[in-house]
């Protein structure tokens, strides 16, 4: 595959939440890149830091959450160094985000049309309403939503339609990166599948790069080109989607994949991972997965393994994966 330009790069980002009993290290020393036109899946269980990382990409972290180190480069500009004014134009125009529950992101007192017009006029106050409306109607057609819905309010729309409106709002200013945080979790299976197809179509149409944050391995398998697996605030493994599913190197990735029921397989037993993720206010020394790892070795409890590229494009943070056996 041709090498494409890196459009977003996350360099050694660490994020903390100081709380009464200490400091929660939600994200620690994470580095990632997103290429132009690529779909990257950010996978992990609740509390692994994937949403926190997603929010930080738009500098949307709420205090007391704070980035304690690292850089976020969007086409060479450090997002963390941007002022409020520049951020407002970055969000929506360059990087847009959609969240899990569209009802909490939509204003119950706004019609579909006013949601769109507000977004457009915020970024481009001089655009005549007639032209803006034209753009909105074109967007609705792309989303597969009838024109008559323009005058309706969020409560009149179905869950799937609301999520389509959300993605429409995110894309109306033609950004080049879309961050989607669990976009289908509140949707039913068939609606979810429809949304997945829509996302694939939009990606082509808008030449989008996508960061898909999810716990749903089925969903990333459908969409992502490359997958990054997070556990307890750290990156465990990064590789192409096909590699992650066919030859996972990290025991956590292996566990995660084999514990999901797969409708295509005859599974007599699911492989389970006993235990639960560590307390991030006092993470274990060494590898954070060591307490639950079936292949743990003495060194795992002492020193944290670095994320090392073992094969071109396939990195893992595990003491085992460097060894040939």
């Amino acid at each position: 595959m041709e090498r494409r330009e890196t459009i977003l790069s996350v360099r050694n980002i660490s994020i903390e939440y100081p709380i009464s009993i200490g400091v929660v290290k939600a994200v620690e020393d994470v580095s990632l890149t997103l290429d132009d036109g690529e779909a990257l899946g950010l996978v992990g269980e609740s509390g692994c830091g994937k949403s926190t990382l997603g929010l930080s990409l738009l500098k949307l972290l709420r205090p007391p959450g704070r980035v304690t180190g690292g850089q976020l480069l969007y086409r060479g500009t450090d997002i963390l160094g941007l002022g409020n004014h520049e951020l407002l134009s970055l969000r929506g125009r360059n990087i847009a985000m959609i969240f899990q529950n569209p009802l909490t992101s939509l204003n119950p007192l706004f019609t579909v049309r006013s949601h769109f017009l507000e977004t457009i006029h915020f970024h481009d106050p001089s655009m005549p309403t007639a032209r803006a409306t034209e753009a909105v109607e074109k967007m609705l057609a792309t989303l597969g939503i009838e024109r008559k819905r323009l005058t309706e309010y969020p409560h009149q729309l179905s869950g799937g339609m609301r999520q389509r409106i959300m993605i429409g709002l995110a894309l109306i200013m033609n950004p080049d990166i879309l961050i989607a945080d669990e976009p289908t979790t509140s949707l039913d299976v068939i609606v979810e599948a429809g949304f997945t197809q829509l996302l694939a179509d939009l990606r082509r149409l808008y030449r989008l790069s996508i960061i898909l944050i999810t716990h749903n391995l089925g969903l990333v398998a459908e969409i992502a080109d490359r997958i990054a697996v997070m556990y307890a605030g750290k990156l465990m493994e990064v590789a192409s989607a096909r590699e992650i599913f066919s030859r996972p190197l990290h025991p956590y990735t292996q566990g995660l994949i084999s514990c999901v029921p797969n409708i295509r397989l005859e599974q007599k037993e699911l492989v389970t991972m006993p235990g639960s993720p560590p307390n991030l206010a006092a993470p274990p020394a060494g590898c954070r997965f060591a307490p639950r790892c079936p292949k743990v070795m003495p060194i795992c409890r002492e020193k944290a393994p670095a994320l090392i590229e073992h094969e071109p494009g396939h990195s893992a943070a595990c003491w085992l994966s460097g060894r040939k056996d």
């Binding site: 039913d188 299976v189 068939i190 609606v191």
Partner: protein
């Protein structure tokens, strides 16, 4: 094998608040949540009840235990009519037939310790002496993986992880040694790795305690893993019911086929162009005439609008409600 529980033509309407005129003209609208559902579950069997939100699967589960009164139809538990039981008989039934809900945190009292919560049903049903009870509870806690039991006995729900809370709910449901358990999406709220553990536990308990389950789920992959037979519901009706392997290999009803096609598969090589039904599940207030699925069905014919297709046996034990069969 003997039939443990049987539902006959269960109907549940939830009347809507109407105006005085609606009452006067007897034109009260209602949500037709369950619309003529019949099935039976054999002793020791796991019947999966699958469907999207709003299909009536949870209401069906509640009707079986008479947590809600059916509008019409009947439920038989070991040949006895549950729908006409007196309060006293019903109380005795509740010790034999239990339910586990989706969200453990909303089914546990924050002011009851784990021990108190699990012991509660024993005191309600006046089973055992206080000393026996504690022994029995500790024993059961170990069995469901709440270990060390002595330590967790005095914990409160907010001190537990999501997986532990769901285990407490399961233990509480099993403490009166029931033989029938309705599990209403017991893993929908849990994290990926916790899901596998709960599924494994449910399977283990079924074997050890000889339980019979009605397993309500929106996830067909999970149903495939756990169930012996699967019923698929759409808008209050069962559209197809078959032994597990038969259903997954030879689904007949177009809705089941669509549902199966929509399930995301955790395998990037399995990406496919899905033929999905358009739109979303219609309102149960005013369901479409004839076959409820016809407005979304790719194979719909004019005849589908006319009459409700009955469940017909297409092969031994495999029933489907489609005029094409």
């Amino acid at each position: 094998m003997a039939t443990l529980i049987r539902a006959r033509d269960l109907v549940k309407d939830f009347p809507l608040q109407g105006t005085i005129f609606d009452v006067f003209f007897r034109d009260r609208k209602a949500v037709h949540a369950v619309d003529g559902v019949s099935f039976s579950i054999a002793e020791g069997e796991v019947l999966g009840l699958a469907g999207e939100s709003g299909s009536g699967k949870s209401t069906t589960g509640r009707l079986l235990l008479r947590l809600q009164e059916p509008t019409s139809g009947s439920v038989e538990y070991r040949g006895r009519d549950v729908t006409s039981m007196s309060a006293r008989e019903l109380a005795a039934l509740r010790a034999r037939a239990q339910i586990v809900f989706q969200d453990p945190n909303s089914s546990l009292s924050p002011r009851m310790s784990v021990g108190q919560a699990i012991t509660h049903p024993l005191s309600i049903h006046r089973i055992g002496t206080p000393k026996d009870r504690k022994e029995r509870v500790l024993d059961l806690m170990e069995k469901v993986g709440l270990s060390p039991a002595e330590f967790l006995y005095h914990k409160y729900p907010h001190q537990l992880s999501g997986g532990q809370s769901q285990r407490v709910v399961i233990a509480r449901a099993l403490v009166t040694t029931p033989d029938f358990l309705v599990a209403d999406e017991p893993i929908a709220m849990a994290d990926v790795s916790v899901r596998a553990l709960i599924l494994q536990l449910m399977r283990q308990l079924k074997q050890d305690l000889g339980l019979t389950y009605l397993f309500i789920t929106h996830d067909l992959a999970t149903a495939k893993y756990l169930c012996d037979r699967v019923a698929v519901m759409y808008l209050g009706r069962i559209v197809e019911i078959a032994p597990r392997d038969e259903l997954f290999a030879r689904a007949h009803h177009p809705y089941t086929t669509a549902l199966l096609a929509a399930v995301p598969v955790p395998d990037p090589d399995a990406r496919r162009d899905k033929k999905l039904p358009t739109g979303e599940i219609p309102s149960a207030i005013d369901p479409p005439p004839g076959c409820h699925f016809h407005p979304r069905c790719p194979l719909a014919m004019p005849k589908c609008r006319e009459a409700r297709p009955p469940l017909r046996e297409v092969s031994p034990g495999h029933f489907s409600a489609c005029i094409l069969d």
